[in-house]
């Protein structure tokens, strides 16, 4: 089976720079995949992307060595398994608040007898190779998002779920959960403290810590803090920022 470069990078003590896709377009995804991201996450939660678009986008990413990941809309088994069958090499699940939810999520991504993932890889066989069935469980990576007040309470329970490879901090939702303004980068003090805490606990549990960032500067800072999976901005935001900058320059 085609190995998962994320596992390789992490095992070598290196970090992953992840891009973020919210535009439902194979061409946009393929363009992004040529820019040098280690992985690209197709956002089926907040992105304007559904399953059919995600398949086209994963296919486009598969023309390169960039790793295709998905964020699913919710802890719903149907879509989690469908994106895996379509070739996702990692799944980010939002709003995991309890150990039970984390266990349920991990189970959805593993075949029996260890999990409840139903067997029927299709595009996954093409992408991963004919021995996908034997190695999928050990190759795919699983991220639980930590972004609710309840998750903070249950943090150790979540982090100790066998098979959970990583957690992923959503600073905006976490901010709201803590009664702060929903921002990605300049989080308010309670959020900064919580993020520090989540990172420390994840490191303690030997679980990779990842986080969403609005800017490269914040991503860099998060890497320096010890995060090993950082996302930066998104396709649409990079485009919009580029457009505003260009317009300002022309109109200056």
């Amino acid at each position: 089976m085609r190995p998962n470069p994320l596992r390789t990078l992490w095992s070598e003590g290196r970090s992953v720079i992840n891009g973020w896709l919210t535009i439902a377009s194979g061409f946009a995804a393929e363009t992004m995949a040529h820019q040098g991201w280690d992985s690209l996450t197709i956002d089926l939660q907040h992105g304007i992307v559904d399953y059919a678009a995600a398949v086209e986008m994963m296919t486009a990413i598969s023309t390169t060595a960039t790793v295709p990941l998905v964020r699913v809309p919710w802890l719903e088994p149907g879509i989690i398994m469908k994106t895996l069958d379509a070739g996702a090499y990692g799944v980010i699940c939002p709003m995991i608040s309890t150990r039970a939810e984390a266990e349920h999520f991990v189970a959805c991504t593993r075949y029996a007898p260890r999990g409840t993932r139903s067997f029927g890889p299709q595009r996954a066989l093409l992408y991963g190779g004919p021995d996908y069935p034997q190695h999928a469980d050990a190759t795919i990576v699983r991220f639980a998002m930590i972004e609710t007040a309840q998750a903070l309470d249950n943090l150790d329970g979540i982090l100790s779920v066998e098979g959970l490879d990583a957690i992923y901090v959503g600073p905006s939702d976490l901010s709201l959960a803590l009664g702060c303004r929903p921002v990605l980068d300049d989080v308010e003090p309670p959020v900064a403290t919580a993020i520090q805490h989540i990172l420390a606990r994840a490191q303690e549990h030997n679980v990779v810590a990842g986080i969403h960032n609005g800017t490269a500067e914040t991503a860099r800072r998060r890497l320096e803090m010890g995060f090993r999976f950082v996302s930066v901005s998104s396709d649409a935001r990079l485009m919009a920022a580029g457009a505003q900058q260009a317009l300002a320059q022309v109109r200056r």
Copy 2:
């Protein structure tokens, strides 16, 4: 944030005439949006419409002042939040039968700490404006459909859920629930009685009462009864009725 005309109309004591979209087409939706409906509901439940089509249709409606609403397929968090992120200004949730379901539904549409909606407006920011995050909770409208026997039993519990703006009667399902023929307009007496009861309870709880109608005549009658949100027919039915009428005239 762009205000929600439905709230304005209701606060002025006026009613809302709502159109119904079941055809997955931006052009059909845009055409409907130019006919003068106060709002248009994209039916992701019984309409032949999925999320991707709904985004295109909401975009088309957004070229006018008509308010884009959705009816979601079921009380499933993923799709509720995805349609909100895509710019829906109101959500109709089918088959709410208990107070707990109503609370769950409302929570899905509100940000923490009052709800569980995950933060990440995308098209919603474009449609609503940059201050969408601050005002979304107070701007979006929430309709719980009352159409099961169990809902009749739990009516006051449902109607007293904080944050539920409106209920929406589905006469066909309500008829079936009461052992009657599934019709929209000429409902059988037990259904008529139940509708009258629902309306009275909603008025008592200061919750807007809405209802689905097959014809303009029934819609008008429902307004006179005190309903303040009436849907009339649907894109496909208006087209089919027009076709039958035209064919009859030509062949007469």
Copy 3:
């Protein structure tokens, strides 16, 4: 091969009532196909419809006995042949102004040695049957639109092209060509005269005369004049008219 009901109707001296499709939706097309039209024309010229949508719509129409026709965007061989391969049982070609154009159009719809249509029916084989190759030339119907000043000058030349089954009058373009307002029904006197003239010449040449109409009333009048193929309104216009009528009734 599945026979073409249009040829049967015409051979029995009867007329064809045709519906018009401008919405790119299989469901809308299937709904229209259940209303009783003899044929439905998918408008790839002015409709918001392209080839991919047309295939889906032809498939939807094929679930009924209604005959699938297309209006192509222009006298361009690629799209004419693609729609035939996808199962169209008739083609309306706009803006035929000369005998040479009419000959070119007819040639595009017939196999060698009589025409230049390339061989490769695909969906057409499924819809028409395995003997489609032998009978297609004699089954498909061809309409040249008469709607330019030049076409009026070349009318007899166009009408005498072997293999042209019918002409189709476009009242709006014809009106513009004669310096009048572009309307479908209440055409100005010069247009009325031209339409009368086209009909008379078509009858003389034993070519079926068809015409586009905005309303059932006009269509009926055209049938009485001798037209044997009348289109009435369109999917989008019937829907919009129904919506306006419904809204007026509710708000009355």
Copy 4:
């Protein structure tokens, strides 16, 4: 209402040969529907197919007498009801492990008061006919997939759920559940034993037994064992096998 040929075949003691669709294409589905399958199942679980594609595929199948079935991604009410409203004449639900799940599944496919299916057939009315509402419950067929260890434990409970017409064995998942290699045809002994057991219990409960097969040979063998609904390979696998055979012949 258009009758369901599956019920007819079964009532006559005959079996159903079912094809399997994983390619999201109306044309591919229509091509398959012309090959002589009794029914075709659109696989929304492991197939690369979503709801929008399924509608297009059901429409394509509806141009023939082949019966359109769906396998849904999971026991999730939204998609089960949406595919029924779009005209599916049968639903296969994966991973049914308990009597409660089986009851929930059956309820999702029946109208009140016997079930919780919401009323609003759309394409189903076009395909089934105007009396669809009265007869749908008795016409649609329901298959619960038996493919988990837990389902084996609860087999009699599942099989005795009123309204469950059939079970469907997934040999790959069942193999994994029993600690064996995930294969369709040459299952390991524990799986063979389990399949024999499931068949016997289904026959005892007068529930139709169906099973997924990789090859025609296995399907034939399963029919001889007493299975009355057998699927064979899939669109993509038949195509791939044909390609490999053709390439081998040319390169030989």
Copy 5:
């Protein structure tokens, strides 16, 4: 009819800053339309965009005041008229090399008796308003691309075609035509001379001169030279450039 801001800006002696769309996505187009471009050109020639996508993108742009333009793939009447019917307020036609081609192009965009555009605005009526038919000819803007050696020879002939509002220089093709490297910004001396010449002739003929640019800096320089319509980069290039910059910053 909704006026065309491009004509207003030009009549006031101001210039137009145009964005460029190559990604087939309504959401990407809507995002771009919110950044402040005067107009956005949907590139159906070199963009990965076809008609169906263009309609969705024009609809998305129509939610803002940004003007929707298209570049058509070639001087082919079918697609020129289809994009106009879908609401394009301007058309850029590539590779105009002769006066006859320029005349043909302009004719395709005007109704009879002055042109050959066929009548049937659909989305154009929704976007432009009910009086679109009377004012479309005078509202739409027409750009002929000057980018071949032959066009340089026929420059005055092209520029004197009545109804041609603007020319648009394609520096890459023009470079190739002159035997130089195909670049947008740092063109080789013969190309720079040709561009200067085209600008001067356009000014002499009172035709607006436009040009494609890779960077804001070049666009600004072109404005200073006297160009009054400048495009800057594209959606995909802005996104890719932003991604590379972000990655460099994180990895620095």
Copy 6:
């Protein structure tokens, strides 16, 4: 620039086994690309495939080493150039009947000053590499289809067009052109003679000869005759044949 394996194979005196795609599906195309074809031709002429589908299919093919080719609908510049910009590494143009048509076709695929292809590779840059502009003309392969009576008359003229790499025989159309039944494999004697003649002339002109085949057996025979590019069946036909064979086996 990524080299074109077809040129390599031919320069080494080897032949190309080509698969044929008529189903508009990225997943079907990707599945086919994993079976071992040297190249896959996306049939935009007779296949049920348009440009948008072709892009998705080329992307899917690009995940493998199989070479993506297209057959365009007609000698129409717009679509020829769009498919090249989307990454096609070869173009088959149908119905080339004269030397002038062959020259026009070749010109459409080459940049100025040798051709008229407009500059703007987009996906082609991603697939081919950043130096695509310099090498595209020498990398892409061009096939003119020989399938009309007129083409036989003009054979040497066509074959001597500089830049035409190959011809491709369409046996069905050629059969019709010679007054025979339209078949692919068991062609009638006049067609067999013509094919032999075309092959001999192509060899004389040092132009690669290719041909369409219905079966592997015929393809093998054509290779033995000297053809160096053979297509075998198609995605849909392989699937249908596999289905019929499976059904026959089960029902035997």
